[in-house]
Point group: C2
């Protein structure tokens, strides 16, 4: 089977065999058990993770409490660019909420491939534009939408997330108490009936 990044890049441009081999060898695909940490708060980030199967949860530990700041499922990338680009410790962690298979993109290998294959840099730059678009939409939604509306959007975008993640993490991500999320869910079910 072809490497996921080779597959994605091949949809946009025709890769040489040399490029395919370089990508495949540079970015290993690994499976992590549920509960594994891909990055720990306080450490320097070295990699980005492209999720092939599974779910990564991002959180910040504040006063002993885990505040969930993101979920990354299939075809999404988890990365702390602030730590990667500025070489400062990450203030958040990545933990696998399920058995999770990812392509590991080390920043060092990425740089090597940028230098050697400009098309790979084009591919990544274009992917970053998409990510910037997504992040800004999420940021705007946090300001403009109420928790109930944000929950409905989350259901739309990641319909099975609540079957995969404990409800209190989803509540944390929405900035509400688990009881409030329960009430919102009941209200939505009642509306549907």
């Amino acid at each position: 089977m072809e490497h996921i990044l080779v597959e994605l890049m091949s949809q946009l441009t025709q890769l040489s065999e040399e490029e395919k081999t370089a990508i495949t060898e540079s970015f290993p695909i690994k499976t992590f058990e549920k509960g594994s940490y891909l990055m720990k708060q306080g450490k320097l980030a070295k990699n980005a993770y492209y999720v092939i199967e599974g779910c990564i949860r991002e959180f910040e530990l504040i006063g002993g409490e885990e505040k969930t700041t993101g979920f990354f499922i299939e075809n999404e990338s988890a990365a702390n660019f602030n730590s990667l680009a500025n070489q400062i410790p990450s203030n958040r962690s990545f933990v696998c909420e399920e058995k999770t298979t990812v392509a590991i993109l080390s920043a060092e290998k990425e740089q090597q491939l940028y230098d050697k294959y400009p098309r790979f840099e084009t591919f990544c730059r274009s992917g970053m534009e998409q990510m910037l678009g997504n992040e800004k939409e999420q940021l705007a939604e946090l300001i403009t939408l109420k928790p109930e509306q944000r929950y409905l959007k989350l259901l739309q975008e990641k319909p099975d997330l609540l079957n995969r993640i404990p409800q209190y993490h989803v509540a944390s991500f929405l900035g509400i108490k688990p009881e409030t999320l329960s009430r919102i869910r009941k209200r939505i079910v009642l509306k549907k009936e």
Copy 2:
């Protein structure tokens, strides 16, 4: 005087005269009066804007109310990547809150320069990593910090913003009522005394 992007890129790499000319000619620098719109909700985004002097406010019009989703001051870029990358109408507007001077980066010209000068693509890719880092930090803060803490961070990052922007826009950005922001400001002044 050198073009701002030539100046910034020259700090990282040595540019040829040809590259300098291409950048200078591709990205015109313009000054807009206070109240000018650089992008309107519902339209396709075509440009990004690098602020040389002044302040751009980003907002979404919802039910007749302007919800402020961002401020961009000197050395920051305002862009709607969701609209630029996916060719869909922007759901937010950019308005100048002061007389504002920007470098206008049209997506079309950027593409031309990427094709011709790979170093320019490297420069932009690297800038996007920084932007991704910033956006994610902001996103996480919206989840993990209370409005008062977010206000203090905003004061730290953009100390003179409240002298430049009406207070109700700042309150909108913080997701609180102007009266609440007034109370927070009074409390901070009292603590200092």
